[in-house]
Symmetry: C3
Subunit: 204 residues, 3 copies
């Protein structure tokens, strides 16, 4: 599972960076920037762990995650303009990150005896709640609630993963197929501007 580990670390860094960039745009001070980096990077996994009863939460078990997050701060400090221009490249890393976090969240929940339906939900929560807390702390309605296919891509990838696991034993290839589903849906959604609004019949 070495590839997974590398993806997890890179994903943590990219998530932290998204919180740090939001903090810079909100003119937060250094401490606010650190906190926003932390909650964005580990907030989703923390909520998942609290709900499924996995305490202490996972990032407490090793200093690795906090150092990865802290290391994103000087990078943002020196290369902010450059990173801003690199947004599209980031998006790819970010998408690989959310795909991986979704599947790892599902696996961890299943392992603790949570039902497949709720494990799927917990996988998505792992991937998206960091961003939701980031937006609440910056006093915005969470972006993901309005116009992002992001969560739908996670659900679809998670569903594929559960189906593959049900019918086959190849856990590791299931994982890579599922992550590919997340990435494909999200990139297609951005390319073709997909969206899933929710308008009741009587309001349409």
């Amino acid at each position: 599972m070495d590839a997974i580990f590398v993806i997890e670390v890179v994903g943590t860094f990219v998530f932290a960076m998204s919180g740090i960039m939001a903090a810079i745009e909100g003119e937060f001070d250094l401490f606010g920037t650190l906190i926003l980096g932390i909650v964005t990077a580990v907030g989703g996994g923390t909520i998942r762990d609290l709900l499924i009863g996995a305490t202490p939460v996972s990032w407490m078990s090793s200093d690795l995650y906090i150092y990865v997050i802290i290391s994103a701060i000087p990078v943002a400090f020196f290369f902010f303009k450059y990173l801003h221009r690199l947004r599209k490249t980031f998006l790819l890393f970010d998408t690989v990150g959310i795909g991986t976090f979704t599947i790892l969240g599902i696996e961890k929940s299943l392992a603790l005896g949570i039902s497949p339906t709720l494990s799927l939900l917990m996988g998505v929560v792992s991937a998206v709640f960091g961003g939701i807390i980031r937006d609440v702390l910056s006093n915005h309605v969470p972006l993901i609630f309005r116009n992002e296919i992001y969560a739908f891509a996670c659900f679809a990838g998670g569903l594929v993963y559960l189906a593959l696991n049900y019918f086959s034993q190849l856990q590791e290839s299931s994982l890579f197929i599922a992550i590919s589903v997340v990435i494909s849906i999200r990139l297609l959604a951005i390319r073709f501007n997909w969206n899933i609004p929710f308008k009741p019949l009587s309001k349409q």
Copy 2:
């Protein structure tokens, strides 16, 4: 306890619907709508469970709650206008729901060795924090902080329940009496426009 179970399921549905209606008014997409339905329906019980150390949180132990919540989405989709007009009927269900959640929250906390005072608080938290999280995620100051007798009704009902339990053994009838207190106070409060502002002497 079959009546209780039915009330719990109906209460979950009504709470979820209140989150879903708020999401529709905030123009959330399908995912945002689902999340707002979930946090409104189970948020209060989740906070209570985390505080009293009952993990995994209660709605993780069965798929029933998540399916009840999901089932509210198509109902909102097809009958939004109709539901909007039915608000007063809803209010009754909602009040029965909060009364029940308050008492069940008190019972669960007492059973885990929490003191009566804190159990009373945990009962109220079970009933009202779902709505508080809903309002924070929609970027409003929680409604209940401003002009709702809602929380006071829960406190009063919970207090009656604790008193009845202290003096008698009739647990089940205590429960129905306490729920009636919650309902009566809330309906009277709405009818006569009761409110409990908090104005310091020097500001009056």
Copy 3:
């Protein structure tokens, strides 16, 4: 540890009062005022306890904290104007409170096997997250994210505490030295208007 206990109780009262004053300014009703008092006073320790897996959270184990918080409400009711004028005196109590909460948070985390780095973070979280939740519930961007040296003072004091503990055995005097560091930095910061903004190079 009697001095510590007194500081903890006074700190809880002062923190609760800061939430109650914010509620009064936001025109909350009595229930909203109570909730804002509670989350401000115990929110930071609650988040810390949830993250490090110490459940039920600490304030659930005794009625003392909730009664201290409730007792702040009549004080605010009768002496609001007076308290408003006393803000500078309050600041001193508040600073002693955050210093103590930081160190106690570090100790509790270390005792549960959390690494020194993460324990330091947990100490700061204990001290500052109550105020962050208070601001989120009043629909503001948390004050501490914008222009407060508060968090930095906690980090510095916590670091001194960890260093002293590493090199000596005098736990109790370490504690008082560390709290003095927190207080000195904060008071100097207010006096000389220190601030630690975070501006990327390319934005400067």
